[in-house]
Amino acid sequence: MTTDYFEPESISEVVSLLDRFGDNGCVIAGGQSLLVMMRHGLVSPRYLVSLKNVVGLSGIQESTDGDLTIGAMTSHRDVHRSSLLQRRTPVLCQAAAKVGSTPIRNLGTIAGNICHNELGADPPAALLVLDSRAVCVSANGERNVPLAQFFTGYFETALRPGEVVKAIEIPSPPSDMAGIYLKYVVRSGDLAVVGVAVLLGLESDGKHCREVRIGLGGVAPVPLRAHKAEQILRGNAIGDEILSEVANVARSEVDPVSDAHGSAEYRRKMVAVFVKRAIRHAVDVSLGQGAIYGKTN
């Protein structure tokens, strides 16, 4: 089967093409996921609409209110290297830095990553703890979808036919919380067996948890927040005992698969290990004792 390929130059052209093609159309950004799917024969779109030449889809903006907007075509490398994001959302930069390999990070985009919603992707867990939103556009207009509602199942999202993600918005990321993303892999460059993003704010005593958000990837049909685990930690002094409890509860919030590379039971155990590690690491960073980009596995 042949595929027709389009390179429109404006978002309005993109959505009108998508409107025209309906189910036969598919958006391609960096191609790092879609082309693999096509090669394996898992999808075979009749029409490919590239965002490559669309003006204004790359780059990261900060509004006067401190809201951040990341254009759909911004690559993982650009996210990782952005000094603005390194200052405002280090957890996202860490996650972007751990996507695949250098060539994948150079070509793959952050919006492509969330739209693909593959098990074990890195950015979603970080975007979830940052309460991000996807800006979805179609011929019928624009809507913002909180990422917590964006991921709906394996390789499935809330994106409707004819819609494209134009940008990801991070509304005023907190400036007083430490962010850590840890990734556990069998082999370097793989999708995460477990990906854990933690955003943690300590009380002024340096011991109690004022606020915490835990995002998990690779361990359920969709990336998710470990709300129950967060609830247990919030307001409490951070110590071994409570961390074990937090880890155990986080473990009960996930629904991992068993496959050739690991059993569900092992993956649950690893959720507990890496949630604990990420929180400890975030505490260290909050107290000015830990390096964000140290060897964190």
Partner: protein, 761 residues
Amino acid sequence: MTNVVGKAVGRVDGEEKVSGSARFAADIESAGLLWGASLRSPLPHAKILHIDVNRAKSLAGVKAVLTSLDLPDVRIGRQIRDLPILARDKVRFIGEKVAAVAAQDKDTAEEALSLISVDYEELPAVFDPSAAIQDGAPVIHENPAAYDGAPHLIQKINNVVSMTTKAKGDAELGLRKADMVFEHAFRTPFVHQAYIEPHTCVCAIDTVGKVHVWASNKSPFLLRGQVAAALAVFADDVVVHLVPVGGDFGGKGSPMDVPLCYYLAKFSGRPVKMVMSYSEELMAGNPRHASIISVKTGIKKSGDLQAMKIKCLFDSGAYGAFKPIPDVNLAGARTAGGIAYRIPAIQIDSCCVYTNSVPCGHMRGPGYPQIAFAIESQMDIIARAIQIDPVEFRMRNLVEEGDEPPFGGSWEGIKAKDALRKVVEASGWGFPKVRPYVGRGVAVMQKSPGISATGANIVIDSSGRVTLRMGVPEQGSGSHTILQQIVAEELRIPLDLVTIETGATDALPDSGWGSGASSVSHSMGQAVLKAASEVRAQLLTDAAGILGVEERLISLENGGFLIRGGVKQKRIPFQKLVSRLADGRGRSYDVTTIYDLSAGKKGEFSFSGVTSFCAQVTEVEVDPETGQVAIRKITTAHDVGTILNPITHQGQIEGGLIQGIGFAVMEELCVENGRVLTLHLGDYKIPTIRDIPKLRTVLLQNPAGPVPYQGKAIGEISIVPVAAAIANAICDATGVRLFELPVTAEKLYWELKKSSSKSCI
């Protein structure tokens, strides 16, 4: 003083590989070329009731659709000819070819395959080799002994491909007399060679009926014979054109799709190309044999090895066709799978068993890494049990000068202990460890080069340019560069005056096995050396004649002829004088030589009296909460001869280490009821560069070996000890012993949970 041998010269094929201009089998184009593709069985064991190809045949653009009914009832194979070109009557593994099409393009071919329907009647299947040999197990081949090339055995046991026993002394008696006896069983999985280029071939039939083949195959002359046998034609009716092979690692020696491609070409009347997808490679390539290896070892109180009895069960998969050795004695060869110990009584029973799994073939050091994992793991277990340092235990038992190989013959220049001593020095063995859960492991093995009868041809034309023509394709190891260096060395000329030409089997001296068994630098190297010396002698004789000088006064030096005597030396540039000589003769120089020292029986590898030893120390750090093993450092010591090219030599060492790391901690064709689950290289995991630790090599140069200029083999040995050294290091770090490869984080995690003690078993 050598001219270019021993120098770190770049690859003769470097530019074409880097620039992309090298033409591999998949790059072959031909007018009217069709695309061939196969329909594969979705069932592991089933009767074929009916195949309906009518819809596929009527699809526009389809030029041929074949099932076994269209083909003669022949079976193909490297030695054991048990594999039908297309499944006949029944299928024996998931991925077996049942039908094939040739079409104008790939999409049409794939669409045609989707239009073929096959009715199967499923049969009971068996996947575990130890279950397959039980009475009452499903019978995979009705009469395996009747196959051409089958080992001549009385097959009283179900599903046995071959069974060999090699023994020296009375191992049973030795075990009874031993002070202590240890018995353990080890398992290794199916492992794919993971070369970049999948199996590819092009077949075309010319106007006089000759069959032309371009294939990613390392043994063009053997391929010619295999194809001729499959087609029931004479070898000379098949012309195999040599193309570079995009990675081999032992896996590119089988006919694979070539006979099928021929029939597609024949039925369509057009040349046909077939390229296996990587999924096809992983489900139906010819991976390394999975194994179950039981080792029973008896020692004296002193720690001296007394007797060893090894039982190997190799999982052949559904066919024996991809094995280059008829009796498939992967572990029973004269060198005992690389064991480097003095053992008074030893017996190895090696049994290869049919199962309904992917048919296995060879991979880098066939049998050796499996045996090494078992033996060298057990040596560590014994050392710890009798509370001797693992290095000291090995020192006590390693062979030394005067010792014989395990099953007789002779060895010269034994450097086992030297290699171990060096690796201990260089690796920091015995030094304090930086943290808990850091451990070190050691392993020692040996491997000798293979010998293949092989020929080489050197032509020097009237311009003085030298062409080496020979029939071993460059499969990625850098062997062509070594051969170019040998020619330049013998004639004392610059490398760029020597061109390597491969061509086709109808115009090349027979190259025997081609590439394999660490043999090219040795066998082809010797053939090339002999041709180069002969042509040099002819040049010097002719030069003496034309110059009117005594021959003893002429030599080849530094790119020219040096004539001594008289008041002063005279030097004539090589090309200048050679063109005069050639004109004088009225023809170019053309010398063909054959190197054939193979002493063994026909079809059996022979091994040289010189072996090489390799000792490795690995340092790992285990994450006790996850079971993940970080390999911190590998130190490898090799007893080597003269190194002909330090770059390619080091490339072989490091490549083997990296493949060994994969074998140890991540590589596995995960199979469930005969179905390979890891069907692409995202799921079938080989190490990436970020998984590679610091590699340190120590070379013990000992110029004494069968390779020209006193070199030794290096192609396979470095992969052999790695997995055992890593498993031993993990045990040192955690007290946990793993008996099954790969040592994944999860396996180690559960073992760590189980073990509360920190002492090694």
